[in-house]
Amino acid sequence: MSRGPLLGELAVLDDVGPPRRGRAYPAAGVGWALLTPAVLLLGGLLAWPVLRTMHASVTTDGRWVGDEHYRAALSAPGSAAVIGRTLLWALLVPAVVTVLGYLLAAASRRSQEGWLVRLILVVPTALPLVVTGVTFRLLYDPDPQRGLATLLLVRVTGRDPEQLPQLLGPGLVTVAVMSAFVWAWVGLAMLVFRAALDAVPSGLVDAVRAFGGNRRDVLWDAQWRPLLLRTVAVVFALVAVGTSRTFDLILVMTPGSVRDEAAVLSLRIWQTSGATTTGEGAALGVVWLVAVTAGMLVVALFVRQAWPPPQQPAGAAVTSPPPRRLVRLLAAGAAIAWLLPLGVLAATSLQSPVRAATGGWWSSPPGLDSYRAVLSGTELWRSLGFTLVLATVVTAAVLGVALLAAYPLAWLTGPAAQVTGLVLMAAVVVPVQVIAGPLNEVLGLTLSSGTARGVALVHIALGVPFAVLVLRNSFADLTAEQIRAARLGGRHWWGTLRRLARHNRTALVAVAVLEFVQVWNDLVVGLLFSGPDAAPLGLFLAGQTRGFVAGSGTLAAGCVLASILPVLVFVLARRQVVAGLVAGGVR
């Protein structure tokens, strides 16, 4: 951290790469030993299930059937619509999130109240998607006595609710789910853009101005070309991969009658196969896998160049003028708009169970009855306790496995490094629904299917690739002096590793926080792999949405309680998370 983060220098560094070989490199045997846990996990719980899925997509009971499953799956009613909708999600939603994220980052960047806006926008990022789904379903309830959005529509148009479009109805349900997703993800995009904008050397802006450039020239020459192009690609890819998480939202937000109108591939695969392996489900899974991997490769080629980590700002002198009033209004408006759903959730949780089910949260005074009802039962406590233990254990295991694996991998250079990076990236984007059936078979072999151990194993396997990626890059970014010092200080490779890990604290914190929040917020792994002794929080909350209106008070209270910890952790560690992400995750 002693060096000035000059853009040019970093670019040069990346082109050549730090002198990685020959110093502190563990002996070949040790290297393999360090890689073993990660290889076993990824091989057994990701690679083999992927191969098994491919195998199942062209066979029935081990017999070759060619493209029969593909034809059956693709010709099933509604398949074209499902694929089209999945594509729409992968293109439209990232575009919206990217644009909004950039605008809000720019708008909130230099204004006085910017930190507040950013804080409000970041909170939804840390919420479990189950909670986001509950929040928006409350907001969009078709009954004007309960749903604020419907009430406003009725008031504004002055028409009978029967004649108004229903936000959760078959026509608009996808838009409704998308709006919830955008709400949840813009905060992350904004954080990344802010880090990128901060990393733009202000000297560059001054230079463009000095040559008589106007606002647009500044944007183009001093921001877009050197940095933003890549940031946009990275954010877009991040969100596009993230759209496979819509599964949680759809499951929670859509009543059964409109679920098909909102369905995307992940949901369709789950509906076809559940946690077993079926030919048609596998065929759909392979289609999806190929699309995701292809998209990932395109992005990887597009953003090959390294992304300069924003390790500043050492008193970054602000020379450019504060944003215009219109822009600041945009930021304030966004803050209010983003706060509103949170308010709806909190207000509903403060209604008694009966009141919440029969009237709007605005119609009666708040009370704590729903919280009392939730807290007096044992189930929430059990879920909270289980999820806390699960998230902690998984985070520790992922950190351990990834640290060991990242260390030898960081010393690879040239094609070997690129290939490892691509393989890890591919492992990051494998959707768990696709491999659920084979995964259950593997877990069956290790006697942990339907148990807490099984759930933890799946979480670890899904979390390791990303963690290795981030830590590997952050190891590789260490300076020569740091490595030399660690080499001299540590007597064995593990001493060196320990010393080096200390320099990577940001990346470690980022990985730990992201993994913890991810496991805490998970629904799909719990849904596919948990058993009676393993009832994670997401599953507990999602299970309550079966009688959504009747249980909305206690459900909202449970959601608030479930969100406290991830929000706290994420908000407190957001700087490290973004720095770690930017430095390591998105190469």
Partner: protein
């Protein structure tokens, strides 16, 4: 049984076999003595069932595994850690597991007598693999007597006429809608359909449809759908119209009746009273009437239920099931109320609430007891949110309430039903 077992996927079978062997060794070594029972129930129901098995001489561990018990048991089977006993919500599952050779044959207690329509559903090749533990009466309408200004309808035509009259009144804003319906939950619509179908199609066709031997394009299926279309398409039948009904879940439809009084009647199973008790305004008790059929007498009765099975190789599982099938085992449940036993040996007088006593009487008096059809259908046809017969009935509901001519809606629905049945048969 082994022949069918051989058709399972080769890899999975190999995995299951090897792990089962390992588990067998490990299990003996650890010496697990308490019995494990997997159930779908949660909350109060689970607590009550724990009280039931507390009276059993051996320690019984009850695990509530949520709604997707099939996935759970399949995974456990693959891992070789099946519970000793499971209580399954669908007879289709019992048959499927029995065919795969997962279950052991059962002999119920001597006093156990289930209604004639139900016993056969748990047998494969004349061997009994399950006993009924719990029943649900699914042919009931609920209403407040003070809100219904006429006699409860006793025939289908009377129900349609009443709905038309109340619907016309509701349209001009002079009263509540006649019916509340939780069409967002597909099973509500399939329960409607089954009641009408059992009434107009007769026992043979109903049974043949359940086991996939009859065509869904049969005239009588279309006739049943036609009757539903006749009622559902009445203008003003539902509060907020058909589109709103499709976003209304079951519990909310009860709230519409008992709390908002926005609708007069709601069709639902006997567990409606649990929801109603929580949300009722006022002290007036809900009244019920039987789902009306074409005739005043000989109305079919649709029931649902949960069945207990014992897994093959489990020591003591079959004994526990036999103990559960005895009428005295369920006294704690009867004491708690809200429980309907499928066991006709349970004396009618032992029910606490008068409603359950009447329903138990109806269970004995019914000429034909038909089990919930959708629960017997194979594979994904059985329905869940957005899938199978649930989805088809919701499409049908949407079409007829949206003004599509009944003929077209019926043709579309029967086509979808036939296709889904065909796909489910292929998947077996």
């Amino acid at each position: 049984m082994t022949g069918l077992g051989l058709r399972r996927r080769a890899l999975l079978r190999a995995a299951a076999a090897s792990t089962a062997a390992v588990a067998g060794v490990g299990g003996c070594g650890r010496g697990r003595r308490s019995l494990q029972v997997a159930v779908v129930w949660a909350n109060d129901e689970l607590i009550r069932f724990r009280k039931v098995v507390a009276n059993y001489p051996t320690t019984v561990q009850v695990v509530g595994v949520g709604n997707d018990i099939d996935a759970f048991l399949t995974a456990r089977r693959a891992a070789g850690t099946s519970p000793d006993v499971a209580i399954l919500p669908r007879p289709g599952l019992v048959v499927a597991y029995a065919r795969r050779g997962w279950l052991s044959e059962l002999t119920p207690a001597a006093s156990y007598t289930a209604p004639p329509g139900m016993t056969d559903l748990l047998s494969v090749n004349r061997r009994r693999y399950g006993v009924w533990i719990k029943a649900a009466h699914k042919s009931l309408f609920w209403h407040f007597p003070s809100m219904l200004d006429a006699e409860p309808p006793r025939t289908w035509d009377a129900l349609v006429a009443l709905t038309r009259r109340l619907g016309a009144r509701h349209r001009v804003g002079a009263g509540p809608a006649p019916l509340a319906i939780g069409a967002a939950d597909g099973w509500v619509l399939t329960d409607w359909f089954e009641n009408v179908l059992a009434d107009v199609a007769g026992v043979e066709l109903y049974g043949a449809l359940a086991c996939g031997e009859a065509s869904w394009e049969d005239q009588r299926v279309a006739y049943a759908l036609d009757r539903l279309a006749e009622l559902w398409s009445v203008d003003g039948a539902f509060p907020g119209g058909g589109r709103r009904a499709l976003l209304t879940q079951f519990a909310e439809s009860i709230i519409q009746v008992v709390h908002h009084r926005a609708a007069t009647m709601v069709f639902g199973a006997d567990f409606v009273d649990a929801v109603a008790a929580q949300f009722s305004q006022g002290t007036e008790p809900l009244a019920t009437f039987r789902f009306p059929g074409a005739r005043m007498v000989d109305r079919p009765l649709i029931v649902g239920g949960d069945a207990a099975v014992a897994f093959a190789g489990a020591t003591g599982g079959a004994e526990l099931v036999r103990w559960l099938s005895d009428a005295t085992a369920f006294l704690p449940w009867l004491d708690a109320g809200g429980y309907l036993s499928p066991n006709l040996a349970v004396p009618v007088d032992s029910y606490r609430d008068p409603l359950r006593r009447r329903l138990a009487g109806e269970l004995r008096a019914a000429d034909t007891v038909q089990f919930d059809l959708s629960d017997q259908l194979p594979g994904t046809f059985t329905g869940t949110d957005g899938v199978g017969i649930w989805r088809i009935m919701q499409d049908f509901f949407m079409n007829v309430t949206d003004g599509m001519p009944a003929r077209d809606a019926i043709r579309r629905a029967t086509g979808q039903l036939a296709a889904a049945a065909e796909a489910a048969r292929g998947g077996r």
